[in-house]
């Protein structure tokens, strides 16, 4: 029994991590219609900025309130970089989807190399409060605290994003802008601002995932974002492009599936199952589990 609980909770922790990465991706993809391969870069920026802040920023540190400050700094850095990317690189290419994908591909190559040039290829220990290394006993299972932290963060992010989309006018503008930018402008709305905002939110979400991922992994390295990204893509697609709620469901499905199959089946089967799940979902329901965020 305790094994099942352990697997379920650690699986949920993994799911939370996937969701944190996927949420920003899904938002930017679904709303701004940009398949953002540079998302891994935002992740890396968040992680490195948090790491840097904990060591160098006055007031920030590896534990207690200082850690919160460090993470906040990381998230801010992620958002700022995302905004810069949007303003400088993506904005001039709106409505040219393929080119945008290409630019973000180029950016992911260059950006990760830049992180590596600055901080080296090796993993660095990530500053984190001592309690995140410990475990909490839940019905006899020793559940890592870092996983629980991820679950809480994921729930908060999900709630925040839904509130943004449902209760703000920006949600509407963005969805309309995806369909026909020109016409939104012709209604007297500066659609560019809304898109920049989406990128900022996506970048912040990615940076948060990077920072908390650093806590979870215990290290930060330039390539970390990239390896998480492939699962995040799978989650986004299974969940239904652009549906934040769908991403949440999909993340849970993927995390649990991976964890249980890896334990009860032969190892590595978990990854294959996840890919299989993706193929099955797409063939049966090409639009993914949930519809667009419009109906979230």
């Amino acid at each position: 029994m305790s094994t099942v609980i352990l697997l379920a909770l650690t699986g949920l922790g993994l799911a939370a991590l996937y969701f944190l990465v996927a949420s920003g991706l899904s938002l930017v993809f679904g709303l701004a219609d940009v398949l953002n391969f540079a998302h891994g870069l935002f992740l890396g920026v968040g992680a490195y900025a948090t790491w840097w802040a904990a060591g160098n920023l006055p007031g920030a540190g590896p534990s207690g309130f200082g850690f919160v400050v460090a993470v906040a700094f990381g998230v801010l850095a992620g958002a700022v970089v995302a905004v810069l990317v949007e303003l400088v690189l993506i904005r001039p290419l709106y409505s040219r989807t393929i080119e945008q994908v290409l630019v973000t591909v180029g950016l992911s190559l260059a950006g990760v190399a830049l992180l590596q040039a600055t901080w080296g290829a090796d993993a660095r220990p990530f500053p984190r409060p001592a309690w995140t290394r410990e475990v909490t006993s839940v019905l006899g299972a020793n559940v890592p605290n870092a996983g629980l932290l991820l679950i809480i963060a994921a729930v908060l992010v999900l709630g925040g994003l839904l509130a943004f989309l449902r209760f703000t006018r920006y949600g509407l503008i963005i969805r309309a802008g995806v369909e026909n930018r020109e016409m939104v402008t012709a209604l007297g709305i500066d659609v560019r601002k809304a898109f920049t905002l989406v990128f900022a939110i996506g970048g912040a979400a990615a940076a948060l995932a990077g920072a908390l991922g650093g806590v979870y992994f215990g290290t930060v390295s330039p390539g970390q974002g990239g390896s998480l990204l492939i699962f995040a893509f799978i989650v986004v697609v299974i969940g239904g492009m652009g549906s934040v709620v769908g991403s949440a469901y999909a993340a849970v499905a993927v995390g649990l599936l991976q964890q249980f199959v890896n334990y009860y089946g032969t190892s590595g089967l978990g990854d294959l199952c996840v890919v299989g799940l993706l193929a099955v979902v797409l063939l049966l329901r090409p639009q993914g589990l949930a519809g667009k965020v419009a109906h979230a």
């Binding site: 969805r175 995806v178 020109e182 016409m183 012709a186 209604l187 007297g188």
Partner: protein, 241 residues
């Protein structure tokens, strides 16, 4: 006669090497409907889009367009619209993925109260179908939505591109009535193929031919002269409505 609300001078548009508008000049009177006529492909839509700043990226616009003392060409579209230039595009361009209500909500402008009652009085259908996705509306319903969207706000000038295209005769009549009423308070620059509608609404007419202005003057005069309409618009006697 008072100052024109809009004056277009020597407007020229090139798109990928095609010289679509070649020095178009005309004025839109400060009241009533001015109609822009011409055969398919002469550049009516291109003219309207150039005025609101929606010429495609690979296009090049020359000349001057003024609304009052203000020059329009250099300013971004959303500014122009906020300053009171309403635009109903040719192919309706409702947001297919949004509901009807959301389409309308999007058109609300900060600072002014949206005139929902006015719009719903004109198009009760829009009120009833508030929760339907605009993409699943029929062509006519979409056109109503596109017009209603603009009427939500006060405008200083409306640009309307072929509002009756593909509409049932009954709806054509309704749309014409709506425009007539709208034109009492706001000047309208209208592109229209349906001469019956033109006859009913238009005060002034501008006729384009091959990217140039071929005729300007009183619309009713134009319609009376069969020879003229025939040569400019290719309209024979059989099309009356």
């Amino acid at each position: 006669m008072t100052e024109p609300v809009l004056s277009v001078e020597n407007l020229s548009v090139r798109i990928v090497g095609l010289h679509i508008l070649q020095g178009v000049s005309f004025e839109v009177a400060s009241a009533g409907v001015t109609v822009l006529l011409g055969r398919n492909g002469v550049g009516k839509t291109t003219t309207l889009r150039a005025i609101v700043g929606l010429t495609p990226r690979n296009g090049e616009v020359r000349g001057t367009v003024r609304m009052g003392a203000r020059s329009l060409l250099a300013r971004p579209t959303h500014r122009l619209v906020r300053d009171g230039l309403g635009y109903v595009p040719e192919d309706r361009c409702v947001f297919a993925g949004l509901t009807v209500a959301e389409n309308l909500r999007l058109a609300e402008r900060r600072g002014t109260a949206p005139a929902y009652d006015k719009v719903f009085a004109l198009f009760p259908e829009l009120d009833r179908r508030g929760r339907q996705r605009a993409g699943s509306l029929s062509g006519g319903q979409q056109q109503m939505l596109a017009i209603g969207r603009v009427l939500l706000n006060d405008n200083r000038l409306l640009l309307v591109d072929e509002p009756t295209k593909g509409l049932a005769p009954k709806v054509v009549t309704e749309v014409a009535e709506v425009l007539e009423r709208v034109a009492e308070s706001v000047p309208v620059l209208l592109v229209e193929q349906n001469l019956a509608v033109v006859r009913r609404l238009a005060h002034d007419a501008v006729v384009l031919s091959a990217g140039r202005v071929a005729w300007t003057g009183n619309a009713q005069d134009l319609l009376l002269e069969t020879a003229l309409t025939k040569s400019l618009l290719g309209v024979g006697s059989e099309v009356k409505a």
